[in-house]
């Protein structure tokens, strides 16, 4: 291998003529790192959201009218459906911070509830529930904490209640940054405190969640709910998962389109360069043909050469994208996915790579790249050596 004549000559073609490859490598690296970053971000977000979804109940029932609250009696009615287990009431709602146009998502939970406790464990790990409920405490995201700190609320915040009274809550704990994707503007309080802050009465809830362990029963349960209640919206886990998919596929698709347009333009430039009538490449191929190289030898050399350039560009591009997304947390680009409309987002993207997508990207890049080099090389190699050397 070390003394391979072919590899030696290949290294000459690559390193003695590096200026020929640097331009195409640089453009490739930029294109690949950009699109890989997009795929890494979406893949990471989707993975985090979907893994959170695993901890969520199978169904969530909401009101589809302007008044989002529903009667607590719905819970008992849902409980009568066959196959339904783990029914829970939830009190969620937005609390607007004075005139700043910013809002927090108030989440009222019953920490002793099994389903909530699983979700909370995922969000903040071990928590002393008894201590949390012993006083007026809140658990808040790092973004909410940072926002409040900017407004001089360092240890707690006083909420203005709908009845005109005030309620002060101390900060109990900050949700880890890793969970910010699902909890960036979240404030977790006990369900009773949430009712006070959001002005929701004892007999009202905003969501009812439940499980249906038998998958085959999902559609029956859903139909029964729509028959039983009016103006409700029933979402199951699969719908939420496909919603996540669609949401990111849309943005990913836009970038993929941009990538393909850039890639096609780039390949046309490469094709043009290799097809160029007076190019150095053409003369080289003519010389090699004249000294006894067959068309197969030429194509083998050009194929290996272009594969190495393509593979190096791809690996470097993907590596840079990995650093940019998972080490540097994708500055600038992440705002395209999270938006900047509410609180500043402080998200740590969890490394997760979809190798299927990466392999598709490799094919979408490599096949045109190698083709753009090989086709003109083959055309030159099949003409007479005398013509090619001119």
């Amino acid at each position: 291998m070390k003394n391979s004549a072919f590899l030696y000559f290949l290294s000459l073609m690559l390193f003695k003529q590096k200026s020929k490859h640097i331009g195409s490598m640089l453009i490739s690296i930029v294109l690949i790192s950009l699109i890989s970053s997009i795929f890494f971000i979406t893949s990471s977000i989707k993975h985090t959201l979907l893994s959170t979804l695993d901890q969520q109940p199978d169904f969530v029932v909401k009101k589809s009218t302007l008044d989002v609250t529903m009667d607590s009696s719905y819970i008992d009615k849902i409980a009568t459906l066959r196959g339904v287990t783990h029914i829970n009431a939830r009190v969620y709602g937005r609390y607007y911070f004075n005139n700043k146009g910013k809002s927090f998502l108030i989440v009222g939970i019953d920490p002793f509830d099994d389903m909530n406790s699983k979700l909370l464990q995922k969000i903040w790990g071990d928590v002393d529930v008894a201590k949390f409920l012993s006083k007026d405490y809140m658990i808040l995201s790092s973004s909410v904490k940072e926002f409040l700190a900017k407004h001089f609320y360092k240890d707690g915040y006083t909420f203005k209640l709908p009845n005109g009274e005030f309620k002060h809550l101390d900060f109990y704990k900050t949700i880890p940054t890793g969970a910010n994707l699902i909890s960036n503007d979240m404030v977790i309080v006990s369900i009773d405190t949430a009712r006070q802050i959001l002005g929701i009465g004892e007999d009202k809830v905003t969501q009812i969640s439940f499980d249906v362990p038998n998958d085959a029963e999902w559609s029956n349960v859903k139909s029964s709910l729509y028959e039983k209640f009016i103006n409700i919206n029933v979402m199951d886990k699969k719908e939420i998962a496909s919603y996540y998919d669609e949401m990111f596929a849309y943005k990913q698709g836009l970038f993929l389109l941009l990538y393909i347009i850039s890639l096609v333009t780039f390949m046309m430039i490469i094709y043009q360069r290799y097809s160029s009538v007076y190019s150095v490449d053409k003369k080289e191929i003519g010389i090699l043909r004249a000294v006894g190289w067959s068309i197969k030898d030429i194509l083998r050399l050009k194929l290996t050469e272009s594969m190495i350039v393509a593979m190096s560009s791809f690996i470097i591009g993907v590596f840079l994208a990995y650093i940019y997304v998972f080490v540097a947390d994708a500055p600038l680009l992440k705002y395209l996915f999270f938006g900047m409309d509410n609180l500043d987002i402080d998200i740590k993207l969890t490394p997760h790579i979809d190798f299927g997508v990466l392999f598709s990207l490799w094919l979408v890049y490599t096949i045109p790249f190698v083709g753009a080099v090989l086709i003109p090389s083959w055309r030159v190699a099949t003409t007479s050596a005398k013509e090619a050397m001119k």
Binding site: A5, K16, I287, A290, V291, G292, S294, I295, D297, T382
Partner: protein
């Protein structure tokens, strides 16, 4: 032995700019060197290209050591060039970004697996033409004479029985021209078939016996 029978080469056949480069060439080349003379456009380079298998004749036969070169498929034609032909081009046709050594080894890359063996052969070829001291120098840094010696070394590396030179002295000064003739004399003495296309008058008065053929408008001038 090279036998050329009823050889024709027509470019752009059937189109308005049809051009007959060679017309009914009949020739036998053995051990005696052949000097092809004629003005530019007389068909010298075309004849060399056909013998070397760079292109195919429109009509006629070229037989080299019982091998019907004019009808060989591409793969066998490449093997023929690699094993039987050493070609020295007028403009050298070297890869400028490569060193002398790397240019000289090029013909043997598809034939051998071991690079060190090829480099040994290349070194011998370079020694023969006195360019071994420039082995690691890039082509673009060489003088015209040095480039030509590199091109000759490349033509010699495969120990081909046929050496073809197209206007070999066109870009050389008198000192390098004489040096080239000395190398050719040595190759002739080794029994190689040598074909030189030139219009340099120095080839009219060589010290060794050779056949001189004049080409005019693609035909052999009697």
């Amino acid at each position: 032995m090279i036998e050329i029978t009823n050889l024709h080469k027509i470019y752009n056949q059937g189109s308005a700019n049809e051009f007959e480069a060679l017309n009914n060439i009949n020739l036998t080349i053995d051990k005696k060197p052949l000097i092809l003379k004629g003005i530019s456009g007389s068909g010298k380079s075309t004849l060399l290209s056909l013998i070397a298998g760079f292109e195919k004749p429109t009509k006629g036969k070229i037989v080299v050591d019982d091998l019907l070169v004019s009808k060989l498929p591409d793969f066998h034609l490449s093997q023929y060039r690699a094993s039987k032909i050493g070609f020295v081009f007028q403009h050298f046709n070297l890869i400028d970004s490569f060193s002398v050594m790397d240019n000289v080894i090029a013909p043997l890359i598809p034939l051998y697996k071991d690079i060190s063996h090829i480099q040994k052969l290349a070194y011998k070829a370079m020694q023969r033409v006195g360019i071994e001291h420039k082995a690691s120098q890039d082509i673009r840094d060489l003088s015209g004479g040095e480039k030509q010696r590199c091109a000759i070394a490349r033509a010699l590396i495969n120990d081909a029985p046929i050496i073809i030179c197209d206007e070999p002295t066109a870009n050389l000064d008198s000192k390098n021209t004489q040096r080239f003739i000395d190398i050719i004399t040595e190759l002739k003495d080794e029994g190689k078939s040598i074909i030189i296309a030139t219009h340099d008058p120095i080839f009219d008065s060589l010290d060794f016996e050779c056949d001189i053929i004049n080409l005019q408008n693609g035909k052999i001038k009697e």
